[in-house]
């Protein structure tokens, strides 16, 4: 019930509010940024404070190729979103698949790097402060990449089964915001871990 409807007051003719998915995603990204900030602060605070080796300079190599893959996946997901808005579903599926492939390459590269560090260099999370902060910060990011890949894969499956159409582009764009965020975080992590910290 409730009856606040009729009144002779000047009602604004236009009443449009932002899309709740995007606002919710922005709020989630704000929370995630706060979490990453704390991990980045811990990383910077502990640079050079390890009591034992190995040090970053001895064991870390710049993951240039993986970084290029991840960052360019931001462009491909943007292209996918644009294709969906124009209702060209084939292009959408293609770009979406490329995004998934680029993200997967990044995750595989991280896995190979960790394998190298653990089995060849003997660096684990409990070796020293560098290991502690490195695995937790890079691992937190890799966890977010993994969640993103699961989302990308799910949407790709839905698209292949013909469940994604032009009217879903707002939802798809909301997911793309998350993926862009994961990429931006990598720029920060790369700078802190591989440039400042090394």
């Amino acid at each position: 019930m409730s009856t606040v409807a009729h009144t002779s007051a000047p009602i604004e003719t236009q009443w449009s509010l932002p899309y709740k998915g995007q606002v919710g995603m922005l709020a989630l990204i704000a929370a995630e940024s706060a979490i990453f900030t704390i991990f980045v602060v811990a990383y910077i605070f502990y640079i050079g404070k390890s009591l034992f080796g190995p040090t970053p300079r001895e064991v870390l190599e710049l993951p240039i190729f993986a970084s290029i893959c991840l960052l360019s996946s931001s462009l491909t997901i943007h292209a996918a979103g644009g294709a969906l808005r124009k209702a060209s579903l084939g292009a959408f599926r293609l770009w979406w698949f490329v995004t998934l492939a680029l993200g997967s390459i990044f995750l595989i590269a991280t896995g190979r790097e960790w394998y190298h560090l653990i089995y060849e260099k003997g660096l684990t999370i409990s070796t020293n402060l560098f290991g502690t902060t490195y695995y937790s910060l890079v691992g937190l990011h890799a966890f977010h990449v993994t969640v993103g890949l699961i989302g990308l894969f799910t949407i790709l499956l839905l698209a292949l089964f013909g469940k994604i159409h032009q009217e879903h582009s707002k939802n798809v764009d909301t997911f793309a915001m998350y993926w862009h965020f994961v990429d931006v975080v990598w720029i920060v992590v790369f700078t802190v871990v591989y440039i400042i910290g090394r």
Partner: protein, 557 residues
Amino acid sequence: MSTESIALTAVHQPSRPFGVVLHSWVTTVDHKRLGILYILYAVLFLVIGGVEATIMRIQLIVPHNHFVSPQFFNQMFTMHGTTMIFFVAMPMVFGFGNYLVPLMIGARDMAFPRVNAWSFWLTAFGGFLLYFSFVGGYGLYGAGAAPDVGWFAYAPLTAKVFSLGHSTDFWTLGLLVAGFGSIGAAVNFVATIFCLRCPGMTLGKMPLLVWLDLVMAVLVILAVSPLTAAQVMLALDRFLGAHFFDTQAGGSAVLWMHFFWIFGHPEVYVLVIPCFGFASEIIPVFSRKPIFGYPIMVAASVAIAFISMSVWAHHMFTVGMNSYGNTFFAMTTMAISVPTGIKIFNWLGTMWGGKLIFKTPMLFCIAFLFQFLIAGLTGIMLSAAPFNWQLSASYFVVAHFHYVIVGAILITIFAAFYYWFPKMTGRFYNETLGKVHFWLFVIGFHLTFDFMHIPGLLGMPRRIYTYEPGRGWEIWNLIVTIGVFFQIAGTLVFVGNLLYSMFKGRPAGNDPWDAWTLEWSASSPPPEYNFASIPIVNSRRPLWDIKHPEDPDWQYE
């Protein structure tokens, strides 16, 4: 306008078997039911946390007492603090927010109803996980143990070597899980308030409680997330042998302090800001005047949230920062009292010249004004670093923050209970019992927490298990403990009143207080869909406009 629709009653449903009712509550995604679940859950833990406080006060009633063991005493203060902050105060304000925000903005539910249910059950599970430590603290071999590291769990107390068994694991995992629930709820509040307002309700026309819940949600997002990150680090330390807070391997105990208080101080404002919202809704209605200085109230709330992010290290003056750090955090802490003072003047300005009606909710709000003022004054005293060096970690500090948490937060939560009880149940509480509760509780509160300042000034440290006679602390501790029993009596009257009134209370109708916000236009209790047709509003007091078409608010706003 149509008074007959304001007087409509809820549809009578045939009674259903208990299993069906229980199933419908467990699987609900309705914001009103989830709000009530949050509130009931918080009341359950309020009783548990109150029992823990009572055990501590009985232990301290006389010197050299042996009511409980020292180990158990440590568990009690840890669990009391953790419970009251994370599993009483937060679910309580989330519960009222969940129930009221969609109704106040003319929406049919929160933005993400299933995320809402998910958040509640995470919070609930976190609390149960924490309390499982009583049976599972050392594994399941037999005697369990609750966490005993204090509610801020300073390193290196939480290190594996100093905290054997799993009690600290339960603490960190319980708070981690509950933290995810809080963040989910906050994201939901932000999306709801920005995207689901009914036509005409611009940001400047939202009820103040909605504004303050928005500010609270933003603070949760910015403040609880760091705690979540720190809890992940602590869990990595304890489970995987990482060294974040392990001083033996070069880790820093002070870093944990910073991370904890970056959460810890804004958390106070997470709790008190929605309570400002309760006061801002109740005081105008019982003064028969619109709120004084609405835009300034909003600005002051946002300013409080902003400044509260930069005051955390005033909890750490005794740790030893340089003079710049001390000066900065003393200044910001004093600065935050300016917008807070503005708010107190605005509430007084609302009452000034009003036609005051001293119903129970209003009495609690008036007590809030006095007590919050005193809490703020001792806060300014403690913000002066040299004074803080003398009194940090003494009972003076304990008295100060209980003045905020009980004297301001719990008191306004009681006010909110009485004010919205007719809306939630469709029945009035008993006014006489409400006033008995008020006087018992306020007398008990002042006996306990006024006199608790004095042993603090005389040098009594917090968290001590017992004390020597002859230091001048005995009489004060005795009075403090006597006050506790007044508070217990008041709380029992409160619970009894609500339980009795839920079934036997006088029917309240839709708008028992002649109030002005949208929730009072729905039936009591509101139907699942809240509003049959989405309302359109033109001012901050839409129901005033309906009741007084000859003199509507929108002509002046």
